[in-house]
Symmetry: C2
Subunit: 385 residues, 2 copies
C-alpha cells in the first residue's frame, strides 16, 4: 500500500465533504437551487476576499481570470507594468503581449519581492502605465509581495493595482478594500479548497469604470457580459455546477473558522515548515516567504526533479519541483487550504527519508523534532489589527 | 416528495458512476494517473468524433471552444460566414464581432436548416469567406443541419467548415473525417454525459495549418499553446481533474455501446417523442428535427414559460423554454446522453398533466400511448452504412 498525500501548490486536497458534493445528481442552473448556491458563494467570496465588490466567476483555470483582467482593464493603447520575478509574473507579460497591450517589465530577482521604492522608480520612468500587474504569492518561487505597501505607490501614479492572488488568497492575510486593490484574480484549486476549474475576477468601482469604457473586452472573458449574467442569476455560459458545489464547501469552512484565524493558522504551519527545513540543513529559497507554500533550495548536486519523483513513487507524497530556470534546483511544499500542520510534519519526514536515500547528510530526525517543537510552543493566534 | 428529473438540453443527467468518480481524492495532474486518464480520454474522443484528429480540451463552457475556433482559425483580415438560425448561430456572429473578424451572416428562418444550395449562393456572393461556422444542432430551435451535404459546398469555395456540435455530437450521427469537417466544437455537459466545465476543439490538418500561420491566437484559448501542453501530458493550464474523471465515464459508456448503436437508440427515442407530441395535438417546432432534443410549439395563448415553471415546481421535471424570439412560445425536451426512452415517456406524461391543468384540451393519455406503441414496434437498429 502506498498512501497518497497531496502537498503540491495546486491542485490541493479537497475536503471530503466538497468531494462528495460533486456527486450530487446533476441539476440545472436556471433553478432556485442554483440561485441559492450562487447567492451564497458570492457572499462568501466577499467575506474571504474582504471586500464589498462582487466577483465574476469563470469556468476556467486561474489564467482565464488573469486574461480577463488584462483584456478588460487595458485597451490596446494602455500600457501595463508587470512585476516579473517568476513564472507567473512572466505569464502577465505573455498575456499582455498576446493581446497587443504595451508592457513595461519590472524584473526583480527570482526569490525576492518588488519593493515600493523599486516600483515607484519604475512608475516615475513610465508615467504612461495604466495598471500594475503583480502576484500576492509568486507560486514558482514562494515569494510573498507586500501588496498593502505597493498600493499607495500605484495609486499615486494614477494606475490600477491588479493582483494575482491565486496561490495565496484564503491562506495569507489579504484585504482587498482596506488595501485598495483594484482587481483580484483567484482560482478554486488552492487555498479555497475546491477542485480546479473555477476562477474569479473581483474589481473595485474604479476598475469597473475602466472596463465599461473599454470597447474591446473579448467575449468568453468579457467581464461585463459575465457580470450581467451573474447579477441575473443566469450565467452567460453554462456554469460548472459540480465545482460550484465543492467551492461552497471550501468557502464555508473558511467562514466558519474566520479569516483572521485562518491566516494565523497558516502563519504557524508555514513557519513550522521553515524551521524544519533549516533544521535539516536546507535553505528556504525566497527572501520573503509566503505562508501558503515553501520553496526549498536543495543541496548542490542533488537532482531536484529526481527527489520529487522519488517522493511521489516511493513515499506517496506529491509535491512540486522547480519551474523555469529553477527546474531541478528546488522543491516546493504547499501548506495552504486543506493541508494542516500534521500533513507538513510527515512531508518533512518523507523529504528527509528521500534525501538520506540519495546520499545527502541530514541530521537524523532534526526537521520533524524542530517543527513539532515549534508547533507545540506556538499557537495560531490572530494578529491584533 | 417531489422527485427531480432533468431533461433540459444541457446540463443533462450524469451517470451515477460519473458523479461518484468526481468524489475521488484530489490528485495532481503531473502524475502517471493523469497521464493515463488523458491518454484514454483522447482516444475515446477520437472514437466518439469519428476522427484521427487529436482534440484540444479546455476548461471552459462550450463557448470557450467556439471562441478558440474563431480566434485561431481567422486572422483579423479573414472573413467568416455564419449560418444564423437561432441563438447559437448568433453566438458565432457575436464572437466574430467581439474579435473584429469580418462576418457575413447567412440568415435562415428559425426552425429551418440551411440548404447546400443556399450556402453555395452565399459563398459565391462572398468569395472572400475563409471559414463557414454552423451548428450540427441549433439548441435554441432543435434544428439538425446536414453537415455532410454542406461540406463539399464549403470546400469547393476553398473555405474551412467549422461545426458547433455541442448539443448533438454523441447523440446523432457525426463523422468528422468522412464528412470533411475542419473544426469541431463539443461541450462535456450534453450527449457526452459529463458535468459542465470541459469543452473540446478538434481540428483537421488543413485547419491546423491555418492556425499555425495565424499570429493572433489569444492566450487561454490559444490552440497551439494548449495542444503542446496536452501532447506533453502537461496541460498549459491546470486541468479540471474531477470533470475529466466524469468525462471518461461518459465516453466509456459510448464506446461500450458503439456509436452506430448510440445513434440508432437516439433516433428511436427522439422519433417516439415526436410521435407523442403530435398525438397530443402539438407541433414539433423544427422542420428538420435533431434526435438530441425536441422543441415543441405550444398552443396559441399558452404561456410557455409558465408551463416550464409548472413542470419544474409541481412535477419535478426540468426542461427548457424558448430562447430569444421564441421565449414563451415553446418548450424543449432533451433526449440525449443519459436520458432514455422511459425518461421521455414520463416527461410527455408530465407535459400532458400540466397542459390539462392550464386548460389545454389534450386527448387523454394519447401521447404516452402513441409513444409507447412506437417504442414497442421500433427497435434501435444501426443504419446500414
Amino acid at each position: 500500500m502506498l498512501k497518497r498525500r497531496l502537498l503540491a501548490p495546486g491542485p490541493t486536497p479537497v475536503p471530503e465533504e466538497g468531494l462528495l458534493r460533486q456527486a450530487q445528481p446533476m441539476y440545472h442552473h436556471r433553478t432556485p437551487e442554483f440561485r441559492a448556491l450562487l447567492t451564497e458563494v458570492m457572499e462568501l467570496l466577499r467575506y474571504v476576499y474582504q471586500t464589498k465588490n462582487e466577483s465574476v466567476i469563470f469556468v476556467s483555470a486561474g489564467t482565464g481570470a488573469m486574461e480577463a483582467s488584462v483584456v478588460n482593464l487595458l485597451t490596446p493603447r494602455d500600457t501595463a507594468l508587470v512585476v516579473r520575478g517568476g513564472k507567473f509574473g512572466e505569464r502577465w507579460s505573455e498575456l499582455c503581449e498576446a493581446y497587443g497591450r504595451p508592457v513595461v517589465n519590472l524584473d526583480v530577482p527570482w526569490g525576492e519581492a518588488v519593493t515600493p521604492e523599486g516600483l515607484s522608480r519604475a512608475l516615475q520612468a513610465h508615467p504612461e502605465v495604466k495598471a500594475v500587474f503583480t502576484q500576492l504569492c509568486e507560486t514558482s518561487t514562494g515569494v510573498l509581495t507586500d501588496i498593502a505597501a505597493l498600493s499607495p505607490v500605484v495609486h499615486q501614479a494614477g494606475a490600477l493595482l491588479v493582483v494575482d492572488g491565486i496561490s495565496a488568497v484564503g491562506a495569507v492575510e489579504f484585504r482587498m478594500d482596506d488595501w485598495g486593490v483594484d482587481a483580484l484574480v483567484v482560482g478554486s484549486q488552492k487555498a479555497l479548497m475546491a477542485p480546479p476549474g473555477l476562477a474569479t475576477a473581483t474589481l473595485s468601482p474604479a476598475a469597473w469604470e475602466r472596463v465599461k469604457a473599454n470597447p474591446s473586452r473579448g467575449y468568453y472573458f468579457d467581464l461585463v457580459l459575465n457580470q450581467k449574467g451573474l447579477a441575473a442569476y443566469d450565467p452567460a455560459f453554462t456554469p460548472a455546477i459540480t465545482l460550484f458545489e465543492a467551492l461552497r464547501v471550501g468557502l464555508r469552512l473558511l467562514r466558519t473558522e474566520g479569516m483572521e484565524q485562518v491566516w494565523a493558522r497558516h502563519r504557524v504551519t508555514a513557519e513550522g515548515v521553515r524551521v524544519g527545513v533549516r533544521a535539516m540543513g536546507l535553505k528556504v529559497y525566497p527572501k520573503q516567504p509566503s505562508d501558503s507554500l515553501t520553496a526549498i533550495t536543495l543541496p548542490e548536486g542533488v537532482d531536484g526533479d529526481k527527489v520529487v519523483k522519488m517522493l511521489r513513487d516511493e513515499e506517496g507524497f506529491i509535491i512540486a519541483g522547480g519551474q523555469g530556470k529553477l527546474k531541478g534546483k528546488l522543491c516546493r511544499i504547499a501548506h495552504m487550504g486543506y493541508i494542516d500542520s500534521y500533513d507538513c510534519l510527515v512531508a518533512l519526514a518523507a523529504l528527509e527519508r528521500v534525501l538520506r536515500r540519495v546520499g545527502v547528510k541530514v541530521p537524523a530526525g532534526a526537521a520533524v523534532a524542530a517543527t513539532l517543537d515549534y508547533y507545540c510552543t506556538h499557537d495560531a493566534v490572530p494578529a491584533k489589527s
